[in-house]
Symmetry: none
Subunit: 226 residues, 2 copies
């Protein structure tokens, strides 16, 4: 899906910021609309049907948190994302505490590149969330619900880490994952685990599936390649 297909509603009481965000989004091909306060935002959302709402937390009349609640209640917003714009990242705890239903937040001051890359990431994440928990890769069916992998009528059981690793690799067949990125995604960002650990799990996967599913790219990483 191209950016051009995404609709973004920007809600902020400062015209400068609206203009700034609007300019950057338009340049990337997003459809945009804007509102200066919560009341206006609700009205605009109804017509505009945004995929994503960038919502300033601090606004006069009706604040972002209340606006968010009301937006969430609208049927038109069923599949939309709401992203808070917060003056400082410290306010995150506050926001999440409110549990107003925001999907993410972006800290001000907003930098063009950060805004755009975050937006992309958020939208990508949504796409994934909508994805089924089960998919096919090669002649395998990988099903997260049951933690099982099917090959034809054969059921193959994997331990959790093995499964997550296979799941990651198979989710993008052909793509080479570096050990670093594998660690980040399967084990978590700041986990102290040695690279060899990945190798061992790869080996266990190969033991169960055969050697011709996961290819080693020496000096780079692994890929699912069947």
């Amino acid at each position: 899906m191209e950016n051009r297909d995404f609709r973004v509603l920007v809600v902020d009481d400062e015209p400068d910021i609206i203009e700034f965000i609007d300019y950057n989004l338009k340049r990337e091909g997003y459809h945009t609309a804007n509102a200066a306060n919560g009341i206006e935002a609700l009205a605009k959302a109804k017509d505009f049907k945004p995929d994503i709402v960038l919502l300033d937390v601090m606004m006069p009349r009706m604040d972002g948190i209340e606006t968010c609640r009301q937006l969430r209640a609208m049927p038109e917003m069923d599949n939309s994302l709401i992203v808070f714009l917060t003056a400082r990242s410290e306010e995150y705890s506050e926001i999440s505490g409110f549990n107003a239903g925001a999907d993410d937040y972006i800290a001000k001051p907003i930098k063009p590149r950060v805004l755009l890359s975050r937006l992309k990431a958020i939208l990508r994440r949504r796409v994934r969330a909508n994805e089924q928990e089960s998919f096919e890769a090669g002649d395998l069916i990988i099903d997260r619900e049951s933690f099982l992998v099917y090959r034809g009528s054969q059921k193959i059981q994997f331990a959790r880490k093995e499964f997550e690793l296979l799941f990651l690799l198979a989710s993008k067949p052909g793509k080479v994952f570096t050990r670093e990125s594998i660690l980040g995604k399967v084990w978590g960002e700041d986990v102290l685990v040695v690279d060899r650990t990945i190798d061992v799990h790869i080996r266990k996967i190969r033991e169960k599936l055969g050697d011709d599913y996961i290819a080693t790219i020496k000096g780079v990483g692994y890929k699912f390649d069947k």
Copy 2:
């Protein structure tokens, strides 16, 4: 890549700020140069070839925005980043409106840790941004994601150095790369490797692709030419 390899040009009319930033960057191993105004900045940029320019927006004689435009126009600045130093975040509209080509900005007052971590993030991002994931060259498709080269339906596998070398040459078909620049880009700036090594890798590439992809320019270097 270590910080020591990065070159930062700091442009600000206040000597105090220059000194402050300079001190902090040097401590982290960056190479630095500085300029007190836009005119000086342009001259320095030409010699110093910075990877990144920290540019005060408000300056006498020629302001940061105009300086930025002119820097962008310089061929020496092709791969450089320009980061604005802005007095306050309110300057959004200004920054966004003119589209002078800044890559990011850092708000004053500048805190050392913020400066350094932002710089790291920005440089890291650049490295990625420069990396095209996949492109066509001649009848080849060179795909870094899978570390494969396709010729029609044929998949051709390369070892890492071979791949990087082919990737470099093919990224600018027709351009002659000297051995020196090849070493710098594929092997890294301060690696001690003998020229014959490149030849050997070129040979391996030719073995896999055929002799009519990479041409030797005697006394100069190699180019991708198909």
